[in-house]
Amino acid sequence: MLRNIGIRIRTNICNRCLKNIGIERLYHNPGSYSSQELTNQKHKKSLFHLRLSTNNQRLISFWGASTANDWSKAISDAEKIVGYPTSFMSLRCLLSDELSNIAVQMRKLVGTKHPLLKTARGFVYDGKHTMQTRGLVVLLISKAAVGTEVPSEQELIAGIHPKQRQLAEISEMIYTANLIHKGVIDVSDMSAEDGCQKDLEFGNKMAVLSGDFLLASASMGLAELHNTKVVEIVSGAIGDLMRAEFTELCSPRGTPSLTSSTTYQDWETQTFLSSGSLLAKCCQSTLELAGHCKEMQDKAFQYGKHLAFAHQLHEDLQPFTHPTDENGDQISLGSAPVILHYSKPENKPHLNRLLDSHVDQKKLRDTILSGTAVEETKRHCKENGKIAINAIESFPSSEAKTALENMINAVTNNSR
């Protein structure tokens, strides 16, 4: 089934999972990639998801190619700490009857431009879309909070309660479901070259069903946690993900649009709704599950929220700090540097000219680099990183806490 749609299992799957479910390992020449090569510019693009280094240790970059090194090191260190294959969720869902069915049907979409194809491929293949980071952060913060006040009778494995692991999986399911549903297309807007209408409608059908399946599984998983407070918090996060698609910063097709009244605050709202909320609320919930007090929960919430902000600012900076190569990052009109630039009174008059014409990426980039917006974005990034680190300051020293700090450093160091 998996092979049918061209997903290569060797990507995000850990040894343990493969053994558990008895899938043949499909690694290509383990050991053929050294960690040295990872940093090699030439291999940067093609290797940014997952490769095995010489000692069979996995290195992953979830958040973009340009910082593969810092980020992948932070992640691979962190995964060892929680002792858990964070890729487990995608595998279990992929192997369910329902999604197997979808996978088989998906062949019909080959040759169309339906986004579901890309999402499915990215499910286990592509590193760009941060597949499993939420789950990892949830586990780390669970572990980092141990020793503060957790009731001792709880059975913890590697410092983490089974319910917290379940929550980590749920956070990934919700994220993936949202990714899939955001890829539903408005059929009437499509042209013939995107694929024939019947195929695109079929793609939508598959996208709706697989997203619904993940959401229903997440809902069942939440109910099984036997904590209605957590159900309420996480349901709120799902609602926020939906709200993110209806904001004024979000145009009808889900791409950002700018007006003369757009401010940095709008950017913050958008970022909170689209990624901060889920991360923050899952961090909060995992401490609720372990019986931590409101104050600790709030600290976890702050960490999650500001990690998401720092990370998004870091992402928004990439087109400016790392000049684009052939298919490099496009500058999004909803990104922080653009908003910061055009929200200045002296630049506002020029906004209409930008919006009226087709966006010339190079010109836009030069315009923004000529001002102070990029520096301001870097400052915001650093500030958010600082708030996140301060939020967990009172947590006892542990390798989990260090890992959480390293993740922040991996995104803020780049904002020098």
Binding site: E98, N178, H181, V184, G211, A216, S219, M220, A223, G236
Partner: protein, 381 residues
């Protein structure tokens, strides 16, 4: 369990409820049941539904909960007030008070019946009202998604959401309704009820998946269809009946009876829906139908007809995809007694539902729930 046609009920349970799954009761069992059913149909057709309900026919079930239903749409809108205006419009679109409110009505009647049974104040508790509201929210949210999946242009007499806002926003709006329903649900603070409603979500989506595939084996096909019917329609009604019973601090037995009532009525409701898809055109009322066949779905009337006309099996397998299949299938159904058998099966479920609700102490709401069953059978006839 009721004494009514016990063998049949066992069979149902084996395919509808996880906890009672008995793999040994296989397809052959179903085939046998079906023959039994056909024979019963001839000899036993007058079986008691009409007599059981005539005495309470004067009661309008809607009337008993009218005041509760009146505020339903407004209550739902209270839950759906995002800052984003467009999302507010999309998510509130169908809550204009014009829906049938069939599901909340049953939940409310059941709540009152079970309150009386437990010698509690008759009126709905705040949380019981919430249950009815959440049932309607979940139902609507799934309709929004179904309309995209089936590409239906109208819903409740107006353009469906995706016709106005596009497929993408319809789906995201549907998700939003679902998320807000979950939030309202969680705020009640009852873990068991959260579980019951999560089961509904799981059943709805699994039912939708089941609709994608069909079974090779003819006998399995009917069990597959009934299981799908339970998941797609009856689970919501059954679990909301169960939830209002839980909130009334009922015994496990009472909770089970409430659940079974909802399950039976739910299945009957869908069976009648499926047969109306064939009969409403014959009666020359309303628009041309056979919507299910056009979607490639084989429902009870077709499955029964295939027993008498085996050439239908091939069409079922190819999901009526060849030109002329839909018309031919309709003819076969008309020639067979598929529609009557479907109605009879629905009647049986309604009779079982009556038996379920009759285990409660008497109340007018109980009578109304009996009336509901006959309304389910006789609607749009």
């Amino acid at each position: 369990m009721t004494t009514f046609d016990l063998a049949y009920c066992n069979s149902c349970r084996s395919c509808y409820t996880k906890s009672f799954q008995t793999p040994s009761q296989s397809t052959k069992y179903y085939a046998r049941q079906h023959k039994l059913l056909s024979r019963k149909f001839e000899s036993d057709h007058s079986h008691s539904l009409s007599t059981a309900t005539t005495q309470t026919q004067h009661l309008d079930p809607f009337e008993l909960v009218r005041s509760d239903l009146q505020t339903l749409s407004d209550d739902i809108k209270q839950e759906l007030h995002p800052y984003e205006k467009e999302l507010a419009s999309v998510s509130q679109y169908h809550f204009d008070g014009k829906g049938k409110s069939f599901r909340p009505m049953i939940a409310m009647l059941m709540a009152k019946a079970v309150n009386t049974h437990n010698e509690k104040p008759l009126e709905l508790s705040r949380n019981q009202r919430k249950c009815a509201m959440i049932a309607e929210m979940i139902h609507t949210s799934s309709l929004v998604h179904d309309d995209v999946i089936d590409d239906s242009d109208t819903r409740r007499g107006k353009p469906s959401i995706h016709k106005n806002w596009g497929e993408r926003k319809a789906i995201l709006g549907g998700d939003y309704i679902m998320a807000m329903a979950s939030m309202a649900l969680a705020r009640m603070g009852n873990e068991r009820i959260v579980l019951a409603y999560s089961q509904i979500l799981e059943d709805l989506v699994k039912g939708e998946f089941m609709q994608l595939g069909s079974k090779e084996d003819e006998n399995e096909r009917f069990a597959h269809y009934l299981k799908k019917t339970f998941k797609k329609t009856a689970s919501l009604i059954a679990n909301s009946c169960k939830s209002v019973a839980i909130l009334a601090e009922s015994t496990e037995e009472t909770i089970e009876m409430a659940y079974q009532y909802g399950r039976n009525v739910g299945i009957a409701f869908q069976l009648v829906d499926d047969l109306l898809d064939f009969t409403s055109c014959e009666n020359v009322m309303g628009k041309p139908t056979a919507a299910d066949l056009k979607l490639g779905l084989a429902t009870a009337p077709v499955l029964f007809a295939a027993q008498q006309h085996p050439s239908l099996n091939e069409m079922i397998m190819r999901r009526f995809s060849q030109p002329g299949d839909v018309a031919a299938a309709r003819q076969y159904v008309a020639k067979s007694d598929g529609v009557e058998q479907t109605r009879y099966l629905a009647t049986q479920h309604c009779n079982a539902a009556i038996q379920n609700i009759r285990t409660f102490k008497h109340s007018i709401e109980q009578d109304a729930l009996v009336t509901v069953t006959s309304k389910v059978i006789n609607r749009l006839k």
